[in-house]
């Protein structure tokens, strides 16, 4: 194997590295440069303006709205999704008693498993449209359900997605809904690798379901939770597709549901201000990087090993 090892390795490694360099790394570097210019995106007229675009970002109110919305997503989406994922996964795997002894999931857990995973096989576009129908003023499932419970007065006059106070929260709800299934599966897989007798020992030690969940399940799944946190943080900082479909290019009523990605899209492809849009992209890039590092740091603990 020694002989001819390097040609072999290079033959396999060079094409992906080259592709990665041409199509991923170089656009990133270009974006860094473009962010320092004023450029309409089409003309050859590129004017270097230094950090002016970044200074403008600091004073741009619409960008601040978008940034705050992304930060709301960042604060809420991972927490809600992970808590729901952990809760459902533990109900599916260890929550059931069915009036019988031993450790098992709730009745019908196989069915629930499929249902929870269902949103995961739908594309974001379909999910967005689905939620538009759910939230359609007056005739959507949400309004009709509320009417059924004499809660119709809760619906704002402009409809859920037409009201600046509610529109963005429904996007958050849709994002939780579309993501939670995957994390149920992820946490279920993690739970299955926890030896059954650990749960039995907890049962004998007198732990209630709640205690078992907080003192056994969550600490033993911490690796999976950490991964989930980083993925969800990255998803929260993007959110372009769902916002665009549910709230439109403008980002909802009074642009209240804007996110950085959508703002960037409008700046580039509606206002044709590629330099400024690139500055937003570069900002988002560093924001994502910092948050990923922080999330990894904050959740770092001793690795749990099963003997």
């Amino acid at each position: 194997m020694r002989h001819g090892k390097y040609p072999f390795l290079v033959a396999f490694l060079a094409p992906p590295v080259a592709l990665y360099g041409v199509y991923v790394v170089s656009p990133y570097l270009q974006a860094f440069y473009i962010s320092l210019t004023r450029w309409s995106g089409f003309s050859g007229n590129v004017e270097f303006i230094g950090l002016a675009n970044y200074r403008r970002l600091l004073e741009d109110d619409q960008f601040h709205t978008a940034l705050v919305n992304n930060l709301i997503l960042l604060a809420c989406l991972p927490v809600i999704t992970i808590i729901m994922g952990l809760f459902f996964a533990s109900m599916l795997n260890i929550g059931g008693r069915r009036g019988r002894a031993g450790i098992r999931g709730v009745a019908g857990s196989a069915v629930y498993r499929v249902i929870y995973f269902f949103p995961q096989v739908l594309s974001v576009a379909i999910i967005g449209v689905l939620w538009l129908y759910l939230l359609a003023p007056g005739r959507g499932l949400v309004d009709r359900s509320l009417d059924g419970f004499w809660l119709g007065w809760l619906t704002p006059n402009e409809g859920w997605l037409g009201n600046p106070g509610t529109a963005f929260w429904w996007v958050l709800a849709a994002m939780v809904w579309m993501n939670v299934g995957f994390y149920i599966v992820l946490f279920s897989a993690g739970m299955q690798s926890i030896p059954r007798d650990v749960y039995e020992a907890a049962l004998l030690d007198g732990a209630s379901r709640f205690t078992t969940f907080w003192r056994i399940t969550v600490p033993l799944l911490w690796d999976s939770v950490q991964v989930a946190w980083i993925y969800l943080a990255i998803i929260a900082l993007d959110a372009f597709a769902l916002v665009q479909i549910m709230l439109g290019n403008a980002g909802g009523p009074s642009r209240s549901g804007d996110v950085i990605g959508l703002n960037l899209y409008r700046t580039a492809f509606e206002a044709f201000n590629f330099g400024y849009a690139s500055a937003m992209g570069v900002t988002l890039f560093f924001l994502t990087l910092i948050i990923a590092v922080l999330a990894m740091r904050a959740t770092r603990r001793d690795r749990v090993e099963f003997s």
Binding site: R100, A101, E200, L204, D205, L220, S307
Partner: protein, 365 residues
């Protein structure tokens, strides 16, 4: 401290026709060390888990002391269990592992610390209290699992093959430690093992199970000297008893040209029932034999293998009876062991043989 009573307790796993535990009747005295032993799949672990509340009881009942615990959840039974793989909480330190049950029960912190420290002292774990399980050796983990049970001061200890993950030497050492500990604490203990040596050395009484049925429950001595049936006779003792189905005549069981004398009552009992076809099962232990000279009433056995153990030697060989080959194991003095390929004459010691019915395998006295 309490007694434990199984009353015709049965469990059939869903999807199987045969019960995993079939009408188990067993009474375990206060402070007794009872060992459940049997080959794998005999229902011994299931019986223990039924007592722990980790398996359901389909019919019959289980009582701890005067309380019927048949349908109580595990935490209401006041029991502690040591698992085969120890089932330590990997994310907790040794002290936290041992104190977990007390913490849940809301015991004051000082009390927990004191009881954990006492248990750690008893088990020689004082230096490891701050460590996580992964930083412990197998033997230490086993002791932590014991400590977790002791700290709770339960009415009954349940142990499910707690030594099977230890190496041979440590197992022997820990075996005696557990027995001594149990004697000292005086807590009723139910101990499951597949190892008949563990069963014989540790238990006050030993219950032998096969296919979910209790075969015999008695002291180790009685089990060894008076096995109730062929299975118990073959299972208890190492190497196993020589048990042969031989033709029955008026003089007794016939080994080739040699007769093993039986009483008139034994012969009558052996002939009862259908299917015996004039045969009987006779057994004798490897040590209940003499090697004699040719022509003095010994069964001629061709030596296949000699296992030298120092003090003793086990001679494995076979004899031809009317064309069928029968294997024998004989214990001899280690210094005068025969050699491979030699023919020795084996004579069972009269009065030390066991007689069983040819069909149902029950002991005949």
């Amino acid at each position: 401290m309490a007694t434990v009573t199984y009353e015709t307790a049965s469990l059939t796993y869903p999807g199987t026709a045969k019960p995993a535990v079939d009408s188990l009747d067993l009474e375990i005295g206060d402070g007794e060390f009872l060992v459940l032993v049997g080959p794998s799949g005999c229902g011994k672990s299931t019986s223990l888990r039924m007592l722990a509340g980790l398996e359901d009881v389909d019919s019959g009942s289980i009582r701890i002391g005067d309380r019927d615990v048949t349908h109580l959840p595990p935490k209401a039974r006041d029991i502690a269990m040591v698992f085969q793989n120890y089932a330590l909480y990997p994310h907790m330190s040794v002290a936290q592992n041992m104190g977990f049950a007390l913490k849940i029960a809301g015991t004051p912190k000082t009390e927990i610390t004191k009881r954990v420290a006492d248990a750690a002292k008893l088990l020689d774990l004082e230096d490891y209290l701050a460590r996580k399980p992964k930083a412990l050796s197998g033997g230490q983990r086993q002791r932590v699992a014991m400590g977790r049970a002791i700290v709770r001061e339960p009415q009954v200890f349940l142990m499910d093959e707690p030594l099977s993950n230890l190496d041979a030497k440590l197992r022997v050492q820990t075996r005696s430690q557990i027995a001594a500990l149990q004697k000292r604490l005086g807590t009723t203990t139910v101990y499951v093992t597949h190892d008949q040596v563990e069963a014989m050395t540790m238990g006050h009484r030993v219950a032998v199970l096969l296919d979910g049925l209790l075969q015999q429950c008695d002291t180790p001595r009685a089990l060894y000297d008076r096995p109730a049936n062929v299975f118990v006779a073959g299972f208890i003792g190492s190497p196993a008893m020589n048990i042969k189905t031989v033709p029955l005549s008026e003089e007794g069981g016939r080994f080739g040209k040699v007769f093993l004398p039986l009483t008139r009552e034994q012969i009558a009992a052996a002939r009862e029932g259908d299917g015996a076809n004039g045969s009987v099962q006779v057994g004798f232990r490897p040590e209940d034999t003499d090697l004699v000279g040719e022509g003095t009433g010994g069964v001629p056995v061709l030596v296949d293998l000699v296992e030298e153990l120092g003090s003793d030697a086990y001679v494995y060989g076979h004899a031809d009876f009317d064309g069928s080959e029968e294997r024998f194991v004989v214990r001899t003095d280690g210094r005068n062991a025969p050699e491979m390929g030699q023919t020795v004459y084996v004579k069972p010691k009269v009065g030390h043989h066991h007689v069983f019915h040819a069909v149902n395998g029950e002991r005949i006295d």
